[in-house]
């Protein structure tokens, strides 16, 4: 089991996806359990790998595919925590999807025979398993071409097909939005590709380990800008955020949490590919990036406040939240980058919980309109607790992981800019804008769970969802709280990569 550990982590979900295809389509939940089993296995492997890395080892696996072409995987203190948390969320959401997808299929396709039902159910989980593969691939890849490949894989297979077939609107809109997502994804990835090819022309390598050779190159800033534009498309930084609310609103809620990862993992790519190797050369980009991040934070939060649709609400919140981690990374100090990465992990945990709780509300109440919700606390206490924990995590209040992340990244920003008046003001403004998150999460939570009961609600009395939906989310909340109180192991891992450059 310890051989090819990283390869297994990347490939096992893919194998499971094909294995699911062998199951005869019936009205049962076997495909779901295959997905869960595969993810449990990779989770175990990740923990084992994590223990080795915690002791100071670095896992590096090389697979020669042909002359000059090899596929390498690297797990160090930065990529492993990212992979671990993402895999955990994938596992939790797979469990959550078991019931949710049944509900979606019934809603979309109505009365269908068991076989057709089985085909759809199986198809969802087959597509779903491409997510962990894509994320693990991005996390562990050692060359930019592989990163590009896995980003494209994510865009094309799971995102496009799941949205097109299990999305929310009618048939036409669903495909339209899926296509829109595809175009934006490909456009972003193409910018990224242009950037890395330009880099290849300059230094003759796609290896991330060689990128530092670009340092001092006259084109380095331009290459960085092209790559950053590509990544900013994924990160939904103003003005490239247009696709995000549409896509998030369209997705079945069970994978909306993964969409937040899909967007935010670009921050990890930026750290890996650009910031860590080329920090000193990119310094001129630091302040402009911070300003863009600040604008996005404020704009995203205001956008969120204006939403009445439970799903768009979460989507707009993602726009704002991702920019927190971008802000930290853009400060380009060790603290800032660590904080940015820490906040990235905290945000995807919190967002997975928030999205899925919104999904629970949609699932139980059969409405997406927040205005139709009110006074649900007595009948959905567990859901209320989930919303509360997600609000705490996203608003970065102690004792959650968000607080540690926010603390680190703003300390980083202040360390870099405490004598630069503009930097100082931008950072203070950014801290103040985090107050908006508190406002929109708690205000909405209070409206949903307290206050007047709505007539819609009285017609469809709702209760807490089945435990396979709520327990995984509670576990995620537990992880986020543990990270907030005992972040030291994680910080040590991050420090082993980021603190030393």
């Amino acid at each position: 089991m310890m051989h090819y550990i990283l390869l297994q982590i990347v490939a096992v979900p893919l194998v499971a996806s094909w294995a699911a295809f062998l199951i005869r389509p019936r009205k049962n939940r076997r495909p779901a359990w295959i997905a869960v089993a595969a993810l449990c296995y990779t989770m175990l492997l990740l923990v084992l790998a994590g223990l080795q890395i915690y002791e100071g080892k670095i896992l590096h696996e090389q697979y020669v595919i042909g002359p000059q072409v090899s596929f390498n995987l690297l797990a160090d203190g930065l990529s492993l925590p990212v992979a671990l948390i993402i895999n955990l969320i994938c596992l939790a959401l797979a469990l959550y999807s078991i019931h949710y997808v049944e509900h979606r299929i019934e809603l979309i396709y109505g009365d269908i025979d068991d076989k057709t039902y089985g085909i759809y159910y199986r198809r969802f989980f087959m597509l779903y398993l491409y997510f962990p593969t894509g994320f693990m691939g991005v996390a562990f890849a050692t060359n930019t071409l592989a990163v590009y490949f896995f980003l494209e894989l994510l865009t094309i297979i799971p995102l496009y097909f799941i949205m097109a077939q299990f999305g929310y609107s009618d048939f036409i809109t669903r495909y339209k939005v899926a296509l829109m997502c595809l175009y934006w994804g490909i456009a972003g990835a193409t910018f990224f590709l242009i950037g890395i090819i330009w880099g290849y022309i300059q230094i003759g390598s796609f290896e991330i380990g060689q990128i530092h050779n670009l340092s001092g190159n006259p084109f380095v800033l331009w290459i960085a800008v092209v790559i950053l534009v590509g990544l900013a498309t994924k990160l939904a930084i103003i003005p490239l955020h247009v696709w995000m609310p549409w896509v998030h609103a369209e997705h079945p809620t069970c994978i909306a949490g993964l969409l937040a990862i899909y967007a935010n993992i670009a921050a990890y790519v930026a750290v890996r590919v650009l910031i860590l190797p080329l920090r000193l050369d990119l310094y001129p980009l630091s302040l402009p990036l911070m300003i863009f991040a600040l604008l996005t934070m404020v704009y995203g939060a205001l956008l969120t406040l204006a939403q009445t649709d439970a799903k768009r609400f979460c989507a707009c919140s993602t726009i704002s939240q991702i920019s927190y981690s971008v802000f930290g990374i853009a400060a380009m100090t060790a603290w800032g980058i660590q904080g940015g990465m820490f906040y990235f992990l905290s945000h995807i945990l919190g967002k997975a919980i928030l999205f899925s709780t919104a999904g629970i509300l949609v699932y139980q109440l059969e409405t997406r309109n927040l205005k139709n919700m009110g006074g649900l606390w007595p009948r959905m206490p567990l859901t209320a607790v989930l919303w509360l924990s997600a609000s705490l995590i996203l608003s970065a209040l102690p004792p959650t992981s968000g607080f540690v992340g926010k603390w680190l990244l703003f300390t980083g920003a202040f360390k870099g800019f405490n004598s630069n008046p503009l930097g100082l003001l931008v950072t203070i403004a950014a801290i103040m804008s985090t107050l908006l998150t508190l406002v929109y999460t708690f205000l909405t939570g209070i409206r949903i769970f307290f206050g007047q009961q709505k007539t819609h609600d009285l017609e469809h009395p709702a209760t807490d969802p089945p435990l396979t939906m709520s327990l995984p989310l509670l576990a995620l909340a537990g992880v986020a709280f543990a990270m907030g109180i005992f972040p030291k192991p994680l910080l040590r891992l991050l420090d082993s990569v980021i603190g030393t450059f």
């Binding site: 540690v404 300390t411 004598s419 985090t434 907030g484």
Partner: protein
């Protein structure tokens, strides 16, 4: 001399209300036991806190580390002389306010009394934690906890006015909390530590003057709890709705107002400000940056204008609220002088003002419960109906004006000496003018209550005066605490070292200079 002694006592002291809170919730069906729990916890807490005083007076510090989360985020308590002054004040007043609450809440048959006592315990927990915080992170976290726990106290009535006022309360105090967070992070980024130290921690930092001034502004904005002008308007609104549907609908229950003004929110605000000036920046650095003069100017303006606003208010609680705004600026003012006497005056004004202001608020509440009167213009003859209450009120009012034999004289005396020590005679004039204004807005109340004849009452009662305050035994729960706080205000004049208050202030000042 200054040794750090690890000790469990700070934790025990802080945890009392935290243990009481779930007890209060569990005993919600048995009102007497529930309130008994509150009072028991308060007495134990006070005993533990006062027992720490001797060790502190010998020059030591008691410390207790809760958790070291990492990356500079650590929670811990460190008892020093200044913090202990605040802790003694809040824990002692908690006993009396709890007693008073029994009389007040039951007489008015208020709803949600369990939540009230629960949140009250949490507010005291936060306030004492603020007093004993070791570092800025602990301070910040409990500062926010204080805002949230008092939110439910201010919003107690849950009606339209209450929510309107509490919205304002939250908007001001939460934004302020975020500024404080920014300030804490910036401090940590500059110095690499957040622990309070006697000489300040920023003095040795290599930050430019302009950065430090930005930092000071952030801290000042983070101290909006101190209600300095022009960021004061949340305080009177939280007491009484400004443009009410009903004439002067009351927002916060009176014991809550008393708590807010004397012990918890506003006091924590000024306490925090003094903490930051003395133990984060350090007196020397503030002097070098030339901030003292600005701070003194803001405090002076708040002192004078606050008094003027108070004169214009007919509602007793709102008048008291403006009086608090004015009085708390004495504390900021004392610190701004940057002289030993000024700081000593500021420090003793925290407990002394607490005792006097709580007397005044408790009296206002008692008058409202017993006679139903809220406006000063209606209060003619109240002094004859409620002699004990109005006597206590008079003592509190005398103290506010700085007249002997009430403890307010002592703090004003030190503040006056402080102005001379700092060589700023203009500030001496400010303090005298402000005291004069205090007389202007307090004595009409006393005069109306004692010497004016009510227009209607004598006819209705056949010309006889009824001692309303003794009519129901329940009222004693209000009258006794307010008489006690008034009594203590006088005792502190004759024995300022009762509860070691003066000794602790001297100790704190000695460590600073």
């Amino acid at each position: 001399m200054t040794e750090m002694v690890p000790s469990i006592k700070p934790l025990l002291a802080v945890i009392c209300p935290m243990i009481a809170a779930p007890g209060i919730f569990l005993l919600r069906k048995h009102a007497n036991i529930r309130e008994g729990t509150t009072i028991l916890a308060a007495v134990i807490q006070f005993a533990i806190i006062i027992s720490m005083a001797p060790a502190i007076l010998e020059g030591g510090f008691l410390t207790f580390r809760i958790i070291d989360i990492g990356a500079g985020i650590e929670l811990g308590y460190r008892v020093d002389a200044f913090g202990l002054i605040f802790a003694i004040t809040s824990s002692f007043l908690w006993i009396l306010v709890s007693l008073y609450s029994i009389g007040y809440m039951r007489s008015l048959e208020e709803h949600a009394q369990t939540r009230y006592y629960f949140m009250f315990a949490l507010a005291i927990f936060s306030a004492v934690s603020i007093a004993l915080s070791e570092n800025l992170v602990t301070f910040y976290i409990f500062y926010a906890a204080l805002t949230l726990s008092t939110y439910w106290l201010v919003a107690h009535h849950e009606d339209k006015e209450a929510f309107a006022a509490t919205r304002k309360y939250l908007v001001y105090l939460l934004s302020s909390g975020w500024f404080l967070f920014a300030a804490v992070v910036l401090t940590y980024a500059i110095t690499g530590t957040t622990r309070f130290a006697d000489g300040g921690i920023l003095g040795s930092a290599s930050a430019s003057g302009s950065t430090l001034i930005v930092l000071f502004v952030l801290f000042a904005l983070g101290s909006i709890k101190a209600a300095w002008m022009p960021f004061h308007s949340w305080l009177p609104s939280a007491m009484v709705a400004p443009t009410p549907v009903l004439p002067s609908a009351m927002v916060a229950p009176t014991p809550v107002s008393a708590l807010l003004h004397a012990v918890a929110v506003v006091k924590a605000g000024v306490f925090g400000f003094v903490r930051i000036v003395c133990h984060v920046f350090g007196i020397e650095l503030i002097g070098e940056l030339g901030i003292g003069l600005w701070l003194g100017a803001v405090a002076s303006i708040t002192m004078i204008l606050g008094s003027f606003f108070a004169i214009g208010e007919d509602n007793l609680k709102r008048r008291l609220a403006y009086s608090t705004i004015s009085q708390l600026s004495y504390i900021l003012f004392g610190v701004a002088l940057l002289s030993p006497f000024g700081i000593k005056g500021a420090m003793v004004h925290i407990p002394f003002h607490g005792f006097m202001k709580i007397t005044l608020f408790l009296c206002a509440g008692a008058i409202m419960v017993v006679t139903g009167k809220k406006e000063i213009s209606q209060m003619a003859g109240v002094g004859k109906q409620m002699p004990v209450t109005m006597l206590a009120f008079t003592i509190g009012a005398l103290g506010m004006c700085g007249a002997p034999p009430v403890s307010g004289f002592i703090s004003k005396w030190f503040l006056g000496l402080g102005t001379i020590q700092a060589g700023a005679i203009i500030f001496l004039i400010v303090i005298l003018a402000s005291s004069l204004l205090d007389v202007v807005y307090f004595f009409p109340i006393v005069k109306t209550a004692f010497f004016d004849t009510p227009a209607e009452a004598s006819v209705a009662d056949g010309g006889k005066i009824r001692f309303l305050e003794m009519e129901r035994p329940l009222y004693l729960f209000m009258i006794v605490p307010l008489a006690l706080t008034a009594l203590f205000s006088v005792i502190f004049f004759f024995f300022p070292d009762a509860f070691h208050l003066l000794g602790l202030a001297e100790m704190a000042v000695k460590n600073l200079f």
